[in-house]
Structure formats: C-alpha cells, structure tokens
C-alpha cells in the first residue's frame, strides 16, 4: 500500500450531527476537553447512544459523566472512496472501545497517525475538532500509556 504521511488534516467539510437535548453532552463535551456519556447512577453502566433508560438495570437515574478519553482500536479501515465532497480520502475510520467499558464503541477518525501505522489494539486518546459549536470527538495515538 502506498505511504501517506498523515491522516486527515481538518477536512473542508464534515456532515454535522443534529444536536438535541438528548445528545448535546456528547457533541459539546469537547468544549471542556471531555468525552462525555450518560452513565447509570445505579449500576454505573455507561450508556451509548444516549437513551433515557439503562439497558442493564432499567434504572432511569442517569447522569452525564466524563470518561477518561482513553480507548483502544477494535477495528479500522482506510477509506479510499470519495463518499462526501469536501471530505477527501484517504482517511481512517476506526471503531474504538473506551477504556472504562470496552463494549461501548465509537465510530471515529484516527488523526495524527500515518495510515500504515494504524493497528488493531493500539491505544488511542480523544481529541476534538470544533465546527459550528459541535465538538467532534476524534482519536489520536496515545503515546503516554505505553501499553
């Protein structure tokens, strides 16, 4: 595979999510540098996508909480097809599992990482790209954990 120095500088365009009362904590947590999820106050399960009920214990006593932002790459793909004008390939789409609860995954982009250096199981940490008041969680190699 041909070598590409870096993956995904800020694209010209991103489709943004529709921010609502239910998901605002997730899409604006980056303003505080935090990756935020709903969490069950009864059984401590992290909930994603946002839902008004904990699927584990059926509690409705949920609160927004910040996760560490550390995660692990569960899978990835190097996308070469231009699906959306302004969002130019190649770029890495990854599934990451958050450290606190690996069953909670995010589809995301890996940034500041050469395409050929991406590996399943590599440790990553969250970073954010802001557009129009939406803070898109992205992930970059986590060099500090040394795992």
């Amino acid at each position: 595979m041909r070598s590409v120095v870096s993956t995904l500088p800020r694209p010209d365009f991103r489709v943004l999510p529709l921010v609502t009362e239910r998901n605002a904590h997730f899409w604006t947590g980056g303003a505080h540098g935090e990756l935020r999820f709903l969490r069950c106050r009864a059984c401590r399960h992290w909930i994603h996508p946002p839902s008004p009920i904990c699927a584990v214990c059926l509690s409705r006593d949920l609160a927004v909480e910040a996760a560490s932002g550390r995660a692990r790459v569960a899978s990835y793909t190097v996308n070469h097809q231009r699906w959306i004008p302004g969002f130019e390939p190649p770029y890495v789409v990854a599934l990451v599992e958050i450290e606190e609860q690996p069953s909670l995954r995010l589809t995301t982009n890996l940034v500041r990482c050469a395409l050929e250096d991406v590996r399943i199981d590599m440790p990553v940490r969250v970073c954010f790209e802001e557009r129009d008041g939406v803070w898109i969680p992205l992930f970059e190699p986590d060099t500090e954990t040394g795992r």
Partner: protein, 397 residues
C-alpha cells in the same frame, strides 16, 4: 413449525441491467405478473401482498412502488398485506408472508422487491449516504444511526462492513486471497447466467490489482447497483397441489435479532445479526448444514457471504476463510455451490430477492448452464448484513 404450512409456488423477474431507464413500476409489474403466471395462478387468486422496504423508501433508486400502488394497478383483492423496512433483512418481507399464510390470513401472497439504483446513479460514481450534504445540502444534519457515522465520513455500508472484515482478518487470519474467492466464484457463475451484469472473466490478479474502496475491500468486494424487480409467490402448502410447479416447502426460517441492532455496537465484530438468524434456522428443523445442496447467500459485500457461511454452520466460526480458500468448496460442482447466478457482486444488486429467486430456480432444475448437478432438493437463501438478517431453508420433496 408453522412455516411448513407455506411453500414457494412461483417466481418472476423483470429485465435486469445497468441504467435501463425504465419506469420502476413497469419493472415491478413485469416481475409480479411473471411470478403469478409462473405459479399457474391468476391475479384474482392473489390475496396477499408483501414488499421490502415499502414504496419509494430511502435514497433515490433504493425502492420502487409500494403496496397501495401495486394493489391498485392490478386491482388485487387482498386479505393481508405488509410493506416496510423494519424486518429481518430484505427477505423478512417473505418471512412475513410465510407467517401470514401459516396463520391462515392469506392463501397466495405475492412478494416483491424493486430497485433502480443504477438508473438513479446515472453516469456518476456510487455516492455516499448524505453525499448531498455538501453544497446545496449544507444545512443537513445527521440523525438516527447516521448521527454516529456520517460525521466521520463513514458514509457507506462499505465502510461499516469493512470494519468487520478487518476484525475477522485480525482474529482469524482471514486473507484477501480467501475473500477474493467469493467474488471470483460469483463471476465464474455469472458467466453462465445470461442475465448477469458482469460476465467477463475475473482473475485473482485482477482482484488484487483493483482499486481499494475501504480496506480490506476493493472494487470487486462491492456489489454492482442494478435496475430490476424480483417477485415470488408464497402459497398455503395445502393449496398448491394443482399448480404448475412442484411446491418448494418452507422447511425453516431464521429471523432472530439478539445482539444490539447497530453497525458499531454489536458485541462480536467478526459476525453480525446473521449469527442469530442462522442459529435459529437450524433450531427449527432436523435437517443439518450437510443436507444443503445450494446456498444463495447475500453478498452486498464479499465478506457478508463469508459471514453467512459461518453463521449457517457450513464451517466453524472463524474458519470461513479456510472454507472458501481456492474456491473448490463453493464452486458450482463443489460441496456447497454458492451464489450460482453470480450473486449481487456480478449478477446485480437486486437486494436480497435475487438469492431467493435463484434458490427456487435451482430447486426446479431450471438453472440452465449454471444448474447444480445431482437434482438439488434443499437450498438456503439468506439476506442482510449488520443488524439486518433473515434466512429461509427450502425443500422440494
């Protein structure tokens, strides 16, 4: 099991091709009238109607006319009908018809699926979901399942399923050369199918040299958008004896959804909802995978067919790559003839219904140059990827 009260009594299909430019209603009528005649029925006999995913649903070209339009065009006297997208995959609409027949709500249900994605696509490339969000659609905001994928340029099922294929390779050592066999086998079979879209030879070198779409998927791992309509008639098994065809009894269906209904939260990244649909199918019959003579398994992306092979127990979990390696097992003359018409990869993306049509054709011995030898009597048809999965086991007694 109550599905055994149902049988496939007829099949029909319109012209199939690229950029046909034909009215989707005409394609639908061609397929439906063909299926009714094939069963030896008259339109006055049809008292049920089922379709996926409902009329004009989704992006342009993804579906054609719905239930009311077809009912009106043919002035059908319906006792029961259903059309919609929230089903166990594309063949979930056929499973609904089987259920209705088993419950005595209808006697002969016409099931249909129409696509015209090739004409809708026009001369341009295959676009992503939400591609129109740039430019004129700049105010568009993603919601629902797309909220979690479109902001990341994961704007196609190619990307979502590539993530599963990559994980399968990581956990089980599956290779691109193995995955290629799904595409190469489809192409070899398509060469024997006059209605297939891509019939020229495809080699492993061609495959490995093709441009990448989303790793590990290259161009030949992705199906080809097509125009065409497919129809089948599901009849009460006790009302088919005088019809034109030997009935194809529905031996078992799989319609389970047990994991999270999501492209990125499903707990096991090496399989999908097909895992549970496949397991359910075998819980409802005494037949076993070794009894299957023909397998028509969804290949919207090559990896999906491999995942269905595992989900239906034709090999152990994780051994799909080894099973298809070299292509001998899945060849027309192999242990498990796969996608004998060329699949969606080479025959065209008829979106699930093409597999059922081909399964029936093979069981009736009408496969022509691609007919599986040895008088096949048991076939499985399966469709869906990600959170969508439905499958049927058909038997000609």
């Amino acid at each position: 099991m109550s599905e055994r009260r149902a049988a496939i009594s007829g099949i029909g299909q319109s012209q199939v091709g690229r950029r046909l430019g034909r009215d989707p209603m005409e394609l639908t009528l061609d397929a439906c009238l063909d299926a009714i005649a094939d069963a030896g029925l008259d339109r006055r006999d049809i008292d049920g109607l089922a379709t996926y995913p409902g009329g004009w649903f989704g992006p342009r070209g993804f579906s054609g006319p719905g239930i009311p339009e077809l009912q009106d065009a043919l002035r059908l006297n319906l006792s029961w009908y259903a059309g919609g997208p929230e089903l166990p995959g594309q063949l979930g609409s056929v499973i609904e018809a089987i259920t209705a027949v088993g419950a005595g709500l209808a006697t002969h249900v016409l099931c249909f699926r129409t696509v015209w994605e090739s004409t809708a696509q026009g001369a341009g490339g295959r676009s992503g979901i939400g591609a129109s969000a740039g430019g004129d659609g700049a105010g568009f905001r993603a919601s629902g399942i797309l909220e979690w994928t479109l902001p990341y340029g994961a704007a196609s099922a190619a990307v979502w399923i590539a993530l599963y294929a990559q994980r399968h390779m990581h956990e089980y050592g599956t290779t691109r050369e193995q995955l290629a066999q799904i595409a190469l086998t489809a192409r070899r079979n398509a060469a024997r199918n006059p209605k297939a879209i891509y019939r020229e030879p495809l080699t492993l070198d061609d495959y490995l040299a093709a441009r990448m779409i989303s790793t590990p998927f290259c161009l030949y791992d992705c199906d080809v958008p097509a125009d065409g309509a497919t129809a089948v008639v599901v009849s009460r098994a006790d009302r088919v004896r005088d019809l034109r065809r030997p009935p194809l009894r529905v031996e078992a269906v799989g319609s389970a959804l047990r994991g999270r209904p999501s492209w990125d939260q499903f707990e096991d990244l090496t399989t999908m909802a097909m895992r549970d649909a496949g397991a359910m199918l075998w819980q409802r019959t005494d037949l076993r995978p070794r009894h299957v003579d023909v397998a028509e398994l969804y290949d919207g992306f090559s990896f999906l067919a491999l995942a269905w092979i595992e989900a239906l127990g034709f090999c152990a979990r994780g051994e799909g790559g080894a099973f298809v390696e070299g292509g001998a097992n899945i060849a027309l003359e192999g242990e498990l003839p796969l996608n004998t018409h060329g699949g969606q990869l080479s025959a065209g993306r008829l979106h699930g219904y093409g597999f059922l049509h081909e399964a029936a054709l093979q069981l009736w011995g009408e496969g022509g140059a691609r007919q599986v030898a040895g008088d096949p009597r048991v076939a499985v048809a399966a469709a869906g990827g990600g959170p969508l999965a439905g499958c049927l086991l058909l038997v000609r007694d």
